[in-house]
Point group: C2
Chain length 146, copies 2
């Protein structure tokens, strides 16, 4: 487990990859984001996406899983206060393979609790062509070295 003190601004972590099937896309959307263009081919074709696309929340959750394996579970992560600037840059379609990269972009020790460090962490999700499909910044807390 890496502590706050073992991380430096600019540190990067590369995550593995995973492929989203059509069943996974429609089942996630049915549960959490039931918009026609995430559930049905015809509705997708009539939408601005020109076909069935994954819910942006699904892309976010899937890339978060990859980012957790690569980073959040490898550091002494205490929790997240929130997320800034979550952006869906490109649609994700059935059969797309996603990967993720994580970069530490800011850090500062908590003033009220010197055992905690605040970090900003940029997460980027990419498709198999290396195009960015999603980006966001996690505002997280990481335990300091003992």
């Amino acid at each position: 487990m890496l502590s706050y003190d073992e991380l430096a601004v600019g540190d990067t972590f590369e995550a593995g990859e995973t492929t989203l099937t059509e069943d996974e896309i429609t089942s996630f959307a049915g549960e959490y984001d039931p918009q026609p263009f995430h559930l049905d081919h015809e509705a997708g074709e009539e939408s601005m996406f020109g076909g069935l696309v994954a819910s942006g929340l699904h892309t976010y959750c899937t890339c978060n899983r990859l980012a957790t394996e690569a980073f959040f579970s490898r550091v002494a992560f205490m929790g997240g206060r929130g997320v800034d600037e979550l952006r869906w840059q490109r649609p994700v379609r059935p059969g797309d393979t996603l990967s993720a990269a994580v970069e530490v972009t800011e850090k500062r020790v908590s003033e009220s609790n010197p055992e905690r460090g605040y970090v900003n962490v940029d997460v980027t999700g990419m498709n198999a062509e290396g195009e960015t499909v999603i980006t966001w910044t996690v505002l997280g807390m990481i335990r300091r070295a003992e």
Copy 2:
């Protein structure tokens, strides 16, 4: 379906409610946010949360489902460009019942495509005590009246 033109800044929409079970919390976390304090009671008790808590992504997805029923599926929603200022205000624990409210906070017609309107929509998720547990702002596109 409400068009962009039928919405006004300040319009609010109240969503239904749903209860998160412990099984749902650990199964969502196992899939998308495998942190010990979302998966295991003992790890939760040792964490800053003092017990097992839902993944913030789970709270977000669950309240998005409620917000979709109340708002996003009732307007001519074309898609979301992103989300700003997603904040987890209070932990969500097994058995908590969540509800949501949606408010239109900004709107402007697209300059490049006058058939589209941009809206900012604030979503607030609350627990049964009426305490805010999550907030975020959707940057969305809604079709204009024909």
